[in-house]
C-alpha cells in the first residue's frame, strides 16, 4: 500500500441501473496537491467525488482514502470534508449557527472551534450573523467551504466550488485552497471553469463518459495537445501574415469562423510549439516586433473541447 496518497483509486466502476457512471477509474492524489477533475456533463465527476466523500460505494475496484480502504457507504475516514451538488446549509440558521451546529456535531465547543477564523478566511465575517436564507450562491459556496475547513480536513472534496463567485470572491477561495494545500491537505475539485482549474491545480484528470482520458500535470497536457491556436499581434500584420503562410505546420485560422474575436491587427495561427518558435524567429529577422503572443484557448480547454466534440461526433 502506498502510504503517501490521500486518494488511491484502482479500477473503480459504478453503475446506476443501466447507466455506467464510472468505468474502470484509476486516480492518485498526493497530500498537498490540488487535483482538478474536468469533463463534460455526465462524465462521472460528481459520482467520483461522492465516492471519495463516502456517500456511495463503488460496485467494483478499490478505493483508499487517507490510507484506509473504503468498502461501504458512509465509511469515509475522519479528515475528509467537502460537498457535492452544492453546500448543505440550513437557511433558517445564521452563517455562524450553521458552522456552530456542525462543530457541535463533531463534539467541539462552538467557542473554540475556530468559527471566526474560517469565516474570516472565506471573507464572510461581515455577514456571520445573517441568516443563510438571504445569501447569494457565491456566499453559500464560500460558507460551504468554511464548513469544510472547520473540520481541518486532510482531504477536501469540492464540487464546482467557484460556481457563482465574483472575481474577488474567487480569488479569495483560490487563496484559501492554495494555503490549505501548502499545509499538506489534498484537495480534489471539479469545475467547468478551465481558468480555475489551470490557476489552482497542479494536476488534472479529464473524465469522459466515466473514463479517465487524461491524468497528470497540467503542463503535460500542453505537450500532448499538439497544435494550439495562438493570437499574435505585431507591428506589421501584413508581413506577419505572409511569413506565417510560408511555414509548414502552421496555419492561419479564419477568426470569426473559429469563434474568436477578430481585430484588424491580430492574427490567429494554429501551430505546434516548434512551428510557432520558427514564426517568431522569422518575424524578428524581418524587423517585425511582436507585441502580443497568447494562447487563444488554454491546452486544458482545447483538450476539453476536443473531447466534447469527439463525443458529439460519436453521438
Amino acid at each position: 500500500m502506498n502510504t503517501s496518497l490521500a486518494v488511491r483509486a484502482r479500477d473503480i466502476t459504478k453503475c446506476f441501473g443501466d447507466v455506467v457512471a464510472l468505468d474502470g477509474i484509476d486516480l492518485d492524489v498526493a497530500p498537498g496537491r490540488i487535483h482538478g477533475l474536468v469533463g463534460p456533463n455526465g462524465a462521472g465527476k460528481t459520482t467520483l467525488l461522492g465516492l471519495m466523500l463516502g456517500l456511495a460505494v463503488a460496485d467494483s475496484g478499490t478505493l483508499e482514502i487517507l490510507d484506509r480502504p473504503v468498502g461501504r457507504a458512509l465509511a469515509a475516514p475522519d479528515g475528509v470534508a467537502g460537498f457535492v451538488d452544492g453546500p448543505g446549509l440550513y437557511p433558517s440558521l445564521t452563517a455562524r449557527r450553521n458552522l456552530a451546529a456542525l462543530a457541535a456535531l463533531r463534539g467541539r465547543d462552538a467557542r473554540t472551534a475556530g468559527i471566526d477564523e474560517v469565516l474570516d478566511q472565506v471573507g464572510l465575517t461581515d455577514v456571520a450573523d445573517d441568516r443563510v436564507r438571504g445569501f447569494s450562491l457565491g456566499m453559500r459556496q464560500r460558507l460551504g467551504l468554511a464548513a469544510a475547513l472547520l473540520t481541518m480536513p486532510r482531504l477536501l472534496v469540492l464540487d464546482e466550488p467557484t460556481n457563482g463567485l465574483d472575481p474577488a470572491s474567487k480569488k479569495h477561495v483560490h487563496r484559501v485552497l492554495t494555503r490549505l494545500a501548502s499545509g499538506g491537505t489534498a484537495v480534489v475539485i471539479s469545475s467547468h471553469r478551465m481558468d480555475d482549474i489551470e490557476a489552482l491545480c497542479s494536476e488534472v484528470s479529464i473524465l469522459n463518459t466515466g473514463r479517465v482520458v487524461f491524468s497528470g500535470p497540467v503542463d503535460k497536457l500542453s505537450a500532448e495537445s499538439g497544435e494550439l491556436d495562438y493570437r499574435l499581434v505585431t507591428t506589421d500584420a501584413g508581413t506577419a501574415r505572409e511569413l506565417a503562410l510560408d511555414i509548414s505546420g502552421l496555419r492561419l485560422v479564419d477568426e470569426p469562423a473559429a469563434g474568436h474575436r477578430a481585430t484588424g491587427e491580430a492574427l490567429v495561427v494554429r501551430a505546434a510549439v516548434e512551428a510557432l518558435d520558427e514564426l517568431v524567429a522569422r518575424l524578428v529577422n524581418a524587423g517585425v516586433a511582436v507585441r502580443e503572443l497568447s494562447l487563444v484557448i488554454s491546452p486544458l480547454e482545447a483538450a476539453f473541447l476536443a473531447l466534447t466534440e469527439q463525443q458529439k461526433d460519436n453521438g
Partner: protein, 451 residues
C-alpha cells in the same frame, strides 16, 4: 488555519445520537412556524379557556363543555377534545410530517450524511427531536388550559360522565391522565408523519398525511361501524379517555385504544426506519414514491388494521356490534340521573337524599317501538323512575337521547319541567342551568349486555 498531515490516519468516527439530536432540535426550533406553533400551544388554550369560561353560552356540544364555568378542570378537557380533532393532527403534521422532507426540500441530505455518517443515527435523532417538539406542544396545550381554568374558574369539583362529582384533586389527576392517554394516538399520528415524510420526500402529501389520516379516522368514528373497527383505529384514542370520567372507569376501550395506538406507532416508525435505511441518497432531492408508499406503508398498516379488527371481534363478542344497546343506556342514564338528582336537591336546598335512597332506574326505547333497541341515533326515548324517602309515589321523568356511535350521549329533559326543564339554579359558583336539564353520559362499548 493550519491543517497538517502529521496525525495518523483517523478512524471512522461516528457522531453520537445525542449530538445529532441536539442538531435536529436546533434546526426544528429555528423554523419560525415551529416556534409559532409552540408559542400558540402554550398561549391559545389559556386564552380560550379564560374567555369562554366567562361566557354565559358554553360549548355544551363538546364533552364537559357545559361545566366550563363550574370548574377549571373542564376547560382542559374541552381543549383535549378540540386538540384530538384539530390541533394535534395539524401540529404533528407540521413537525413529524416535515422532519425528513425538510432535508429533501433544502437538498441537504448529503451534507447531513457526510456529517453524521449513519442513516440509523440520523433517523433516531430526527424521530426523537420531532417527538420532543410534539411533547412540548402537547404539554403546552394541557398545562396552559388547566392553569388558565384553575386560575379563572377555580379548582373545584368536576361532574363526571356518570354524573358523580369528582373531588378537585381527583379531577386534576384524571385530567392529567386523560392527556397522557391522548399521547398514544398522538404518537401513532407522529409515526404516520415520519412514514409520510420518509416515503413522500418533497411531495406536499407527506406533510399532510397525518392530518388526512386523522380526518379519515374521525369520519370513520362518526359512521355506524362495529366496535371492533372503531377500536382498531388509532384515532379512537382521542375519544377513549372519556372512560376515565365514569364510575367504574371504562378501562376496556381505553386500554385497547392505547395498545392499538402504540402498535400503530411502533409499526409505522419501524416501516419508516426500514424505508429510510434503504433509501438511495445518490440524487440530491427526492420527490417521493407513491408505489413505495403503497407497498411498504399503506399495505402493512392495512394488514395491522385487519388483524386488530379480527382479533377484537374474536376476543370480545360485543365488539362485533355497535356496542350500544338498551340495557347499557338504561343503566348509564339511571346512574347519571341519580347522581345529578342529588346535586339538584342540594342546589334547591331540599332535604338531602342519597343515590341509594333514590333507587333510580330507566326504561329506554328506540324509535317508538318501530326500531330495534340497539345502536346510535337520536330516536332514543327514556323514562327515568326514582323514589323519594317517605313518598310512596314513584317519580318519573322523560329524556330524549342523542346517542353518537362512539358511545357518548346527550339526554335532553322532556318533562316534567319542574324536574328536568330549563330553569336557573343558584349555586355557590353563580347561576347555572338546572343540572337535570341536559345530561352527558358515555356507555362502555366493550362490556357485554346484562339483562
Amino acid at each position: 488555519m493550519t491543517a497538517t498531515i502529521a496525525a495518523p490516519a483517523a478512524a471512522v468516527h461516528r457522531v453520537p445520537v445525542s449530538r445529532g439530536y441536539r442538531f435536529e432540535l436546533v434546526k426544528l426550533l429555528s423554523q419560525w412556524r415551529v416556534r409559532l406553533l409552540i408559542l400558540a400551544s402554550w398561549v391559545v388554550p389559556a386564552v380560550f379557556v379564560a374567555a369562554v369560561s366567562q361566557q354565559s353560552s358554553l360549548p355544551s356540544d363538546t364533552v364537559f363543555g357545559r361545566w366550563m364555568n363550574a370548574t377549571g378542570w373542564s376547560g382542559s378537557l374541552v381543549i383535549l377534545t378540540f386538540a384530538g380533532t384539530w390541533a394535534l393532527p395539524l401540529l404533528v403534521s407540521v413537525v413529524a410530517g416535515d422532519v425528513f422532507a425538510a432535508e429533501d426540500r433544502l437538498g441537504t441530505w448529503r451534507h447531513l450524511l457526510v456529517a453524521i455518517r449513519s442513516p440509523r443515527r440520523i433517523f433516531l435523532a430526527k424521530s426523537l427531536s420531532s417527538l420532543t417538539v410534539i411533547l412540548l406542544m402537547v404539554a403546552g396545550l394541557a398545562c396552559s388550559s388547566a392553569i388558565a381554568g384553575v386560575l379563572v374558574v377555580g379548582n373545584r369539583s368536576l361532574v363526571g360522565l356518570d354524573g358523580h362529582l369528582l373531588a378537585p384533586g381527583d379531577a386534576a389527576g384524571k385530567v392529567l391522565l386523560a392527556w397522557v392517554c391522548a399521547l398514544a394516538p398522538t404518537l401513532a399520528l407522529a409515526a404516520i408523519g415520519l412514514l409520510g415524510s420518509v416515503t413522500l420526500g418533497r411531495s406536499p402529501m407527506g406533510l399532510l398525511l397525518p392530518a388526512v389520516v386523522a380526518l379519515a379516522m374521525q369520519v370513520a368514528q362518526m359512521l355506524p361501524l362495529p366496535v371492533a373497527v372503531r377500536l382498531a383505529l388509532p384515532g379512537y384514542g382521542f375519544i377513549a379517555w372519556r372512560g376515565l370520567f365514569t364510575g367504574p372507569m371504562q378501562l376496556g376501550p381505553l386500554l385497547v385504544s392505547i395498545v392499538v395506538s402504540l402498535l400503530w406507532a411502533v409499526v409505522a416508525t419501524g416501516l419508516a426506519y426500514w424505508l429510510f435505511l434503504r433509501r438511495d441518497f445518490t440524487s440530491a432531492t427526492y420527490d417521493g414514491s407513491g408505489r413505495r408508499m403503497l407497498t411498504a406503508g399503506v399495505l402493512p398498516l392495512a394488514a395491522l388494521l385487519a388483524l386488530t379488527i379480527g382479533g377484537l371481534a374474536v376476543a370480545a363478542s360485543p365488539a362485533r356490534g355497535s356496542g350500544i344497546d338498551q340495557g347499557k343506556l338504561e343503566r348509564s342514564l339511571a346512574t347519571v340521573y341519580g347522581h345529578l338528582y342529588v346535586v339538584q336537591t342540594e342546589q334547591l336546598h331540599r332535604p338531602a337524599v342519597t343515590e341509594a335512597q333514590l333507587r333510580s332506574s330507566a326504561s329506554c326505547d328506540k324509535g317508538g317501538g318501530l326500531e330495534e333497541n340497539t345502536g346510535a341515533g337520536n330516536g332514543w326515548r327514556c323514562v327515568v323512575s326514582w323514589h323519594l324517602p317517605g313518598v310512596d309515589a314513584v317519580g318519573q321523568a322523560i329524556y330524549q337521547l342523542d346517542v353518537t356511535p362512539d358511545g357518548r350521549y346527550v339526554a335532553d329533559g322532556d318533562g316534567p319541567t319542574q324536574v328536568n326543564g330549563y330553569f336557573v339554579v343558584h349555586t355557590p359558583t353563580g347561576d347555572a342551568p338546572n343540572p337535570l336539564w341536559q345530561l352527558d353520559g358515555n356507555v362502555d362499548l366493550l362490556t357485554a349486555t346484562k339483562g
